[in-house]
Amino acid sequence: MNFLNKKGGEQVMSIYWFVIFGIITIAVVSGVYVFSSKPIDIRAAETNVLEDKIITCIVNNGEVSEKWKEINGGNDLEKICLLNLGDLNYKEMQYYIEIEIGDKSISYGDSSFKAFCGAKKSRNNIPYCREKKIMVLENDKFVLLNLIVSIRKVEQNAV
């Protein structure tokens, strides 16, 4: 037998290179897929948007607006502040909003989420909750506006 002919070796090497290129290609594609398929938790940003919408609705130039007097419940809050708290992906309510200004307080949504307020940030598989305190004027007196916004949406954001 004569093994001096190296042409066969080159063919074997070409196949080997194609296999390696294939493995690397599959690795890069699956790497990108794995990275991009992990959910980003946007509930903090959504909470911020919701807080801003509520604050701009019930406070005007630092004073409690007339709209706040018209709001007597959650449904009023949705109508008057032009909020849409429905989510087609879920049958159950995914939000909890609590607003307290002076003696008047209204709440809307699933109040069980309130229990998660103050939970550690690292625990992602629970509803996100944030409490905001701001001072506003009502009849030329400062009153505390206590706003609690909580969003569940665990499956979409934090699995």
């Binding site: 037998m1 690397i24 794995v34 980003i40 911020n48 701001i134 001072m135």
Partner: protein, 143 residues
């Protein structure tokens, strides 16, 4: 049979076997790292910018402070008049009132980049700083 110098062929094969193993290990490490990094993704990437604070709440509070009337005149009017001593004592009182409710703020006025009046309960206010320009004077609030 003629086997001319087989040592070279064997060592070359071994080299490629090891190279293949290294490539596969690197691919494994890459996939593991990507999977780990995927979990730490955030909207802001690696930036320290926080999307949590838009500053609307602080802006409303600043407007509330400026609209507050003391002795028949609002803080805004007193700033316009340049009555900074009165503004300073009044705003200090307001910020004390805020801090009793758990809202800690810093408030200062600057003109031509130099601070002309600074009021704060303490320096632990960490929110987004907002400002309003009043006839060339910049009024800042951070809560």
């Amino acid at each position: 049979m003629q086997f001319k110098n087989k040592k070279g062929d064997v060592s070359e094969t071994m080299t490629w076997i090891f190279a293949t193993i290294i490539i596969l290990v690197l691919v494994g490490v890459f996939l593991f790292a990507v999977s780990f990094l995927g979990k730490t993704k955030s909207l802001t990437g690696f930036n320290s910018y926080s999307y949590d604070e838009s500053g609307i709440a602080n802006k409303e509070m600043l407007l509330a402070i400026l609209s507050k009337k003391i002795d028949g005149k609002s803080i805004l009017e007193k700033i316009n008049e340049g009555n900074y001593e009165s503004v300073s004592s009044n705003v200090k009182g307001i910020l004390d009132e805020f801090s009793k409710e758990g809202v800690v703020c810093n408030f200062y006025i600057s003109e031509k980049a130099s601070i002309i009046s600074l009021m704060s309960v303490n320096n632990s206010a960490k929110g987004k700083e907002v400002s309003i320009n009043i006839n060339g004077k910049e009024v800042y609030l951070r809560c």
